[in-house]
Symmetry: C2
C-alpha cells in the first residue's frame, strides 16, 4: 500500500492555492479571465525550481486526480445550464459548426504540413491535433463572464461535444492508418461509431424519457409521501456525484473522454434542477478543484523547447485559429456575423485535447519531438489567446447591442453579417 506524506500534500495545496489566489487578484485587476492566471501559475511552477522544491512529482497521482476531477466537475456544471430541450434548439447549428470546425482545420493542417515537406502520417497527426476543441477553457471564460445561457455559448458547448466525438473519430482514423493493419481500422471505426451512438442515445433518451419519469415521480410523491419533499431521504449532491461519476465512467468504457460523460450527466441533472438543486452545491466544489486542472495544464508546458520552434509554432497557431473561425463561423452564419465570430473564436482553443493527440503520435513513434513541440505550442497558444479573444468578441457584441438599442435597430442582420466577416 502506497503511503502518502500528508504534511507534504498540505504544503503543496497551501502553495498552489495561494498562487492561484494571487493570480486571480492580478487577473481581476487587469480584467482578463482568471483561467489565464492559473495556467501561467502552472507554467511558472513547471519551468522553475518550484516543481522540484514542492516535490509535486512524488504526489503526481493525487494531483492528476484533482486535475481530472476539476475538469469533470467543470463540464458537469456546464451541462447543468444546458438542459436537453435547450440543446435540441441549437442542435442543427451546433452540428454544422462542429462538422465544418473539424473539416476546415483538418484540411488546413494537413496541407500546411505537406507543403512544409512532412510525410503523410506526421501531417495526418498534426491535422488531427488541429481538430478537437478544448471546451474547458471556453466554458470557464463564459462562466467567468456570466454568459452561460447566451445562444452563442450553447452553440459552442453543443458543438464542442459533437466536435469531441468527431475529433475522436478523426484520431481513431489516423491512429488506424498509422497502425497500418486493416483490422485495426475496422476496430477503431467500431469504437468511434459506438461513441457516436452513445452520445446520441443519451441525448435522445434523456430528452424523451426524463420528462416522463419526472411526471410519474411527482405524482407518486404528491400522493404517497406529501411530507417527503421537506425532508428528503436522498440528498441532491450524492445523487449528482453518483450520476456524474457513473456516466463519466461509462463514457470511458466507450472509448470517449470522461468529460463527455460528466457533461451529459450535467445535462440530465439540469432537468431536475427544481427537484434536486445542486448548481449551488457544485460551485464551491468547483472553486476548490477546477484551478488544479488549469494549473497542471500549465505545469506540463516545457518552455525550454520553444526556442527552436517559435516561428513554425506561431504559424500553426495562426492557422489553427483562422481555420476554426472560418469553419465554425461558416457553420454559425445563421446566428449573424458577430455571433458567428464569437462561435469561431470560442471553438479555437485546443488545450489538453491537442496535447493528447500529440502525445499519442509521439508514443507511436509517428511524429518527431520537434513536430510534437510545435503541436504543444499551438495547443497552448490557442488556449492562451482564446479567452482574451472570446471576451473581446463577446464585449464587442454586447456593446453593439447597447448601440443598437439607442439607434433603435437601424441595422438588419444581413448587413451585420457582411460587415463583420
Amino acid at each position: 500500500m502506497a503511503v502518502v506524506d500528508i504534511q507534504q500534500v498540505l504544503l503543496q495545496l497551501f502553495v498552489l492555492i495561494s498562487f492561484a489566489m494571487a493570480a486571480a487578484v492580478v487577473c481581476k485587476l487587469v480584467k482578463v479571465p482568471t483561467v489565464i492566471g492559473e495556467i501561467l501559475v502552472g507554467i511558472i511552477i513547471g519551468n522553475t525550481g518550484l516543481f522540484g522544491a514542492l516535490q509535486l512529482g512524488t504526489d503526481a497521482q493525487v494531483f492528476e486526480v484533482f486535475k481530472q476531477l476539476g475538469v469533470i466537475f467543470l463540464l458537469f456544471a456546464v451541462g447543468l445550464v444546458t438542459p436537453f430541450s435547450e440543446l435540441r434548439k441549437v442542435g442543427k447549428t451546433a452540428f454544422i459548426v462542429a462538422s465544418l470546425g473539424v473539416v476546415v482545420p483538418f484540411i488546413g493542417g494537413f496541407l500546411f504540413m505537406t507543403v512544409l515537406g512532412y510525410g503523410f502520417i506526421p501531417a495526418m497527426f498534426v491535422a488531427a491535433a488541429m481538430v478537437a476543441t478544448s471546451v474547458g477553457i471556453t466554458a470557464r471564460v463564459i462562466g467567468d463572464m456570466g454568459l452561460s445561457d447566451a445562444i452563442e455559448s450553447r452553440v459552442i458547448i453543443g458543438a464542442a461535444v459533437i466536435d469531441d466525438v468527431l475529433g475522436m473519430l478523426v484520431l481513431a482514423m489516423v491512429v488506424g492508418i498509422a497502425g497500418g493493419s486493416g483490422s485495426d481500422i475496422a476496430q477503431t471505426a467500431i469504437v468511434a461509431i459506438e461513441g457516436v451512438i452513445f452520445v446520441i442515445a443519451v441525448i435522445i433518451i434523456g430528452g424523451m424519457v426524463i420528462p416522463k419519469v419526472r411526471k410519474v415521480r411527482e405524482k407518486k410523491v404528491d400522493v404517497e409521501h406529501p411530507i417527503r419533499t421537506k425532508s428528503p431521504l436522498l440528498s441532491p449532491l450524492p445523487i449528482a456525484l453518483v450520476v456524474c461519476f457513473g456516466l463519466s465512467y461509462v463514457a470511458g468504457t466507450f472509448g470517449l473522454a470522461a468529460i463527455i460523460g460528466s457533461f451529459l450527466a450535467g445535462m440530465a441533472f439540469a432537468e431536475f434542477q427544481d427537484r434536486w438543486p445542486c448548481k449551488e452545491k457544485f460551485e464551491p466544489i468547483n472553486e476548490f478543484l477546477v484551478p488544479f486542472f488549469f494549473i497542471f495544464v500549465g505545469v506540463q508546458v516545457q518552455l525550454s523547447s520553444f526556442n527552436d520552434i517559435l516561428l513554425l509554432g506561431l504559424a500553426l497557431t495562426a492557422l489553427a485559429i483562422v481555420t476554426k473561425i472560418i469553419g465554425c463561423g461558416l457553420g454559425a452564419r445563421s446566428l449573424g456575423g458577430k455571433s458567428a465570430m464569437i462561435v469561431g473564436v470560442g471553438m479555437a482553443p485546443r488545450g489538453e485535447v491537442g496535447l493528447i493527440v500529440a502525445t499519442i503520435g509521439l508514443g507511436m513513434g509517428q511524429v518527431t519531438n520537434v513536430t510534437y513541440s510545435i503541436v504543444v505550442f499551438m495547443s497552448l497558444a490557442t488556449t492562451l489567446a482564446a479567452p482574451a479573444m472570446l471576451s473581446y468578441a463577446f464585449k464587442a457584441k454586447i456593446k453593439k447591442k447597447h448601440i443598437e438599442k439607442h439607434i433603435e435597430k437601424e441595422d438588419d442582420d444581413g448587413q451585420l453579417k457582411f460587415r463583420d466577416r
Copy 2:
C-alpha cells in the same frame, strides 16, 4: 511520474458514493447517525472481496488524501461554529474535562492490563490508546443533530482539542519510556511542550489580535474603497482554504495532528463569518469528502482477528467508555447531570486516534499482535457505540427540557446532577 488510471478512480468513486448514499438512506430510516452507516460500508468493503475487486489498493495514495482532507475540512467546519470568544467561555470547564478525561482512562487502562498480567510497557501503550478522543465522530453526530452550538458540544470540542494535546503528551511520554534513552524523553517532552504552546498561542493571539485587525480593515475599506465590498477582489473560499491548509501544515511541523491546525483555522475564520462567509461553501465540499474519512476508517478493520479477542475487547471497550464518562463527567459536573453525561459520552469514541497509538506500539515491537487487535477493537467499538449513546443522551436532555418547560423548572440543577449520575 506515477500514472493514475482515471477510469478506475471514477468507478471507485461511483461505487463508494453509491454505497454511502444507500447507507445514509438506511440510517435515516432507522434513525441512527449516517456516520455509522459509512463506517459499516467501509467494514464491508474492507472485509469482503470488494476491496480487491475495486482495486482500492492501487489508488491508496489518492484515497488517503481524500480521507485526510475529509477530516481536516470536517474539523475546519467545527471550528467555524466555535469562535475564540465562545471557546474562552467554556475554556475552564473544557480544560478540566480534558484533564480528568485523560487521567482516569489512563489509570484505568494501565491497571486493567497490569491485573491481566501484561508487562509495564505494553500496559502503558494500551493506557495511552485509551486517552485520546476522536473528535471527528462526535463532531459529525453533533452536526447531524444540528446541535453544534449547544454548550455541551462546545465543551466536548474544546476539551477534545486540549485532550488531543494532552494525549500526544502522554504518547510522547510512553514512546520516550519505551525508547529507553534519556535524551529521547527530553526531546519528546520538548515536542509536546511546543505543541501546547502552539495551540495556546494561536488561541490567545487569535482571540486578541483578530478583533483589532477587523476594526482596522473595516475602517480602511469603508474610507478608501466603498465599492469593494460588493465585488471583492478576494473570494472567501480560497482564503479559507489557504488558512486551513497553512495552519494544518504548521500544526504538523509542531508534531501535532493536522486536524488541530484546521480546527484552529476554522475558529479564526469564525470571527470573519460576516465578512468572508464560507460556512455554506464548506458544506457541499464536506458532503463530498467527509464520507471518505469514515469509509476508510471502516476499511482498515480486520474482522477475522476479532474471534480470538472478542471477550477482552468488549471488557476494554466497557472500561474505555466508563472511564471517560467518569473522568469527563466529573469535569463537566458544573453543567448539570444530563449535560455531564452528554460530555462524558461525547468524549468516549477513540476512533483513528486509538488506532494510531496502537500502530505506533506495534511498529516499535512493544505490543503484540493480539494486544494491537484488542486496542483496534476498543477504538472501533467506542466509535460505533458513541454516536447512538450520544444521540440518546442529547435526546434525553432535550425531552427533559420540554418537560421542564411545562412544569416551569421545578427541578434545580443540584437535584438533576445527583439523579442522573
